[in-house]
Amino acid sequence: MSKKSKKIIIYKKEKELPPSAISFASMNYNKTGNWRNFRPVINYAKCTSCLICWKFCPEGAIKLKKTKKNNKEVIKPVINYDYCKGCGICWEECPTGAIDIIQEEED
């Protein structure tokens, strides 16, 4: 995920607009995490680092966290809750049942 500046653009004057509808900022200002009714939670005790969840996430909202354990590289998936829309695909596809789906907290 890019750590680009999360810019929101509001045009107040006609002169500020570009000559036509051209994009100048990223949609990553839009924290789609607030779409969730259910939240997936990874149980790292059961996670085998198969990375199937990372592979199938439609949003790319699962990051890969790389660490070194006993001189071996270990990759663990980490869910970015700012953007996770709660579709549940990772929960459904996880082959070891390492992902639980729980009710999202009330705001």
């Binding site: 045009y11 006609e14 607009l17 570009p18 000559p19 036509s20 509808a21 051209i22 994009s23 100048f24």
Partner: protein
């Protein structure tokens, strides 16, 4: 170098001299010679352009919009049904601010099928935001393509150079072909500010809500208004380099005229002949030829009409349910003026019916007798 060229080939030479880089066209009578010659020029290497043989006019315009959005110079030509098929993409070219130049051969729309000249095809596109220029001879066709690129690229709006089917498209006239080096000096290569470029990615044409769409439309209108001065500026610059004079309008014998014939394209050029004959009879009559129709040169039109007693507009077109289209626009330009003369609207020559010098003299003599018009349309030559 002087050559005997049909109007269609004048368009081809205009595109060639302007160094069009992507040409995308679909054949339609009476445009075919434009693209046939361009195809030969590309094949021989005389013109270094990519020629896309599209399967429809809709695709022709779509492909030029894509190419222009990357930042290259584009050209096509079409007529009647082809122009009508492109309609959706004509709007797209304007909204995407792509300075495409297109030759349109005015041909009557079907049904029924007709190949002869009438202006309804281009005039039904008058609200799209395309600039429109009506040429009266083949020299003007060639020269206007070059000028059109200069104006279009300065304001990022597309332009059509329009000529009459057969009367110009297939009629040979001597045309002075400008020197390529001089054209290059007059028309440098196209530089586009915001373009499709992976090193600077943007999305073009995304969903725009009520908060911003209005301002984007304002910008297009402002660009059209800027074009009014630009056409005059470019016309003067062209005259300095190539010796031929062009502007938004053209006048003939108006300095002492009491009455005016207003028209466009080939009817206007025939009208000169009629005016000379009328002048021999003692009539103080002049011609106002509207060359650039979009943007509409309202100020110029007012400048001529505010010292006139009577004017008659000859339209080779009709806005069904209203009246001739140049007539509507001239009247609208004069509406709030103090000294607006009675303006008569004549519809003639639809479907390619001949409008001769004799007809124009008759039109003039019939209308000038009257004090003011009784209706918005006077039909000339109807079989009654």
């Amino acid at each position: 170098m002087r050559k005997l060229l049909i109007g269609n080939h004048a368009l081809s030479y205009g595109a060639k001299l302007s160094r069009a880089e992507v040409i995308s066209a679909y054949p339609i009578t009476p445009q075919t010679e434009v693209v046939e010659l361009l195809s030969e020029m590309c094949a021989s290497g005389e013109l270094k352009a990519k020629f896309i043989k599209v399967e429809s006019e809709h695709s022709a315009m779509a492909s030029l919009i894509g190419a222009s959005a990357v930042g290259v110079r584009t050209f096509t030509a079409t007529s009647s049904q082809g122009l009508a098929l492109m309609h959706e993409m004509l709007h797209w070219a304007v909204g995407a601010r792509t300075p495409i130049v297109m030759g349109n051969i005015n041909r009557a729309l079907a049904p029924p099928w007709s190949v002869w000249t009438e202006q309804n095809d281009s005039l039904s596109q008058r609200d799209t935001g395309w600039m429109q220029l009506y040429a009266q001879n083949n020299q003007e066709v060639l020269d206007s393509v070059i000028q059109a690129y200069k104006v279009a690229e300065s304001i990022d709006l597309p332009a059509m150079v329009i000529l009459a089917a057969f009367v110009l498209s297939h009629t040979s006239e001597t045309v002075e072909i400008p020197d390529q080096k001089k054209v290059d000096a007059f028309l440098p290569s196209y530089k586009r500010k915001y373009k499709l470029d992976p090193t600077d990615p943007h999305a073009f044409g995304g969903l725009t809500n009520t908060e911003n769409y209005y301002e984007l439309r304002y910008k297009i209108q402002k660009a059209m208004e800027k074009a009014l001065n630009k056409w005059e500026e470019v016309g003067k610059e062209f005259e300095e380099i190539f010796g031929r004079k062009y502007g938004l309008i053209e006048t003939y014998k108006v300095s002492d005229a009491k009455n005016l014939i207003i028209s466009s394209a080939t009817i206007a050029s025939t009208a000169r002949n009629a005016i000379d004959k009328l002048r021999e009879k003692g009539e103080k009559v002049g011609l106002l030829r509207i060359r650039v129709f979009r943007p509409f040169p309202a100020k110029k039109v007012r400048g001529i009409l505010n010292s006139i007693d009577k004017a008659v507009v000859i339209d080779r077109n009709i806005g069904f349910g209203a009246s001739g289209i140049f007539y509507q626009e001239v009247k609208a330009a004069m509406y709030n003026e103090k000294n607006t003369p009675p303006i008569f609207g004549v519809v003639a020559g639809l479907g390619g019916r001949d409008v001769t010098s004799k007809h124009i003299i008759e039109i003039y003599e019939d209308t000038i007798k009257k004090n003011k018009p009784k209706s918005d349309i006077i039909w000339k030559g109807l079989k009654e």
